[in-house]
Amino acid sequence: MARDMSDKEILQMELDQLKIEVSTTRTAVSVNCKETMEWVEAQTEGDPLIKGVSDDKNPYKGDKGGCIIT
């Protein structure tokens, strides 16, 4: 854990980590965001929290107001 290491060791660890991070492959935000947006739009139709669930399929809308008077 970081608490048990000397300052020098912590710095060495940070340095190694940075070296790895600098070399990761990155793509442009414009490309990524466009892809994300397209993915989301495709999925939006099937999202029950946006479109809602019809009463007959909804397990939470149960037996309310089901009194039958004979």
Partner: protein
């Protein structure tokens, strides 16, 4: 009389060269060090040399950090909001509370859905872990943990076990039995051992492995059957407060967030920290992967939620308002990834449009902090747990 001062020189073996020489009595940080004058000079020079390397390490660190920022900036050619201008605006949202689960005697700290979309496990400050049936609001199982502040709980993918832990520094797995009279505590299995509180736990794709995060600054992967540590993840410089596993299609990574304001992405197999993000101004309380697996969101005490894109390796959106001053404790995405639900310490839940960055709804109802929030596996409802001892299941429509 006392006009002459004498320097009493001790004579004996030097600590470093072990030759019999006159020793210089030196105290370094209250520890007596008996070196001869030659070794003393050598030590002083070495001190200088290591000081130099510390400086050069720091300088190298700085240059690498600057280079990293430049690389990231190069790819920041457009804002997410700009790209999202073409997106259709969301209609008015009408979220209603369908169920209120009452029964905990104290603050609800954590909750999780079962894959059957109907059962919920929740844990609270008083040590009780309860399994509910969300459709009927019945309590199916209740376990009393031998510790208070059960900060983490998770449902196994099979639905046959739950894992929980907190101030006891362990993660315990309880197999759930259909027999109502069975004492669940008898079958308890201690899986993870940390040196500080357990802040988060989740099963991986099977019932056999658990990923945990702890206040001791590490995360770890454990085998449930043997309790063996399979991999540990070091890199946070303070408590790790939250973790989330990548959606199964996209691979073997997980993201963790901590009190050091950093969110780190790790490779499960190698234990390597592959990406790190530190744009938050305060502790990160919750991290959640985007449904597509290419991004993740974080909620922080600095009252903002942020979206980080993993392929662009940077923060792409920030969800905040001047009127929101309380920290966000928990976030989750809707099924399509268009909505971000965030629970705050001001007792509200804000619903954000992920693409446009605007708030589409604010939900009231809880009478204390919203501590945890999860969308059900099929996306039809979401449940929020709060310090007001209740859980609320809400739906659109």
């Amino acid at each position: 009389m006392c006009d002459q001062t004498f320097l009493a020189i001790t004579f004996g073996p030097c600590d470093s060269c072990s030759e019999n020489r006159p020793l210089m009595n030196l105290y370094i940080k209250t520890e007596p060090i008996n070196y001869c004058s030659l070794c003393m000079e050598i030590m002083a020079c070495q001190g200088l040399a290591s000081g130099e390397t510390l400086k050069s390490l720091k300088a190298e660190s700085e240059t690498l950090r600057k280079k990293l920022e430049e690389e990231r900036k190069k790819l920041h050619d457009v804002e997410l909001e700009k790209v999202a201008e073409k997106a259709e605006a969301l209609g008015e949202l009408n979220m209603k509370t369908r169920r209120t689960l009452k029964g905990h005697g104290n603050k609800v700290l954590c909750m999780d859905w079962c894959k059957d979309k109907r059962r919920i496990v929740s844990s609270s400050q008083d040590g009780k872990v309860i399994v509910w049936d969300a459709f009927t609001t019945n309590k199916e199982h209740a376990v009393t943990m031998p510790t208070t502040w059960v900060m983490a709980c998770a449902y196994a993918p099979s639905g046959c076990a739950i894992a929980c832990g907190g101030l006891d520094n362990k993660c315990s797995v309880y197999p759930l039995s259909l027999d109502k009279d069975e004492n669940l505590s008898a079958k308890k299995k201690s899986v993870a051992m940390h040196t500080n509180y357990l802040s988060g736990c989740t099963f991986t794709n099977s019932d056999m492995q658990i990923l945990t995060s702890s206040g001791d600054g590490t995360s770890a992967l454990w085998d449930v059957e043997s309790g063996q540590l399979l991999q540990s993840f070091h890199g946070h410089s303070a408590d790790v407060l939250t973790l989330d596993l990548a959606p199964s299609e996209t691979g073997n990574t997980f993201v963790s967030g901590g009190s050091d304001k950093k969110a780190n992405v790790w490779d499960l197999r190698s234990g390597q920290n592959v990406q790190s993000f530190d744009t938050h101004d305060s502790d990160i309380n919750c991290v959640k992967y985007y449904p597509s697996g290419d991004a993740f969101a974080s909620a922080s005490d600095d009252s903002t939620c942020r979206l980080f894109d993993l392929r662009a390796d940077r923060e792409v959106s920030i969800y905040s308002k001047d009127s929101i001053i309380f920290g966000a404790a928990s976030v989750d995405f809707s099924l399509s990834g268009r909505l971000l639900f965030a629970g705050y310490n001001d007792y509200t839940i804000n619903v954000w449009d992920v693409l446009k960055g605007t708030r589409v709804a604010i939900l009231f109802g809880h009478e204390n902090r919203v501590s945890s929030l999860r969308v059900s596996p099929d996306g039809t409802a979401f449940c929020s747990g709060s310090w007001d001892n209740t859980l609320r299941v809400r739906q659109e429509g």
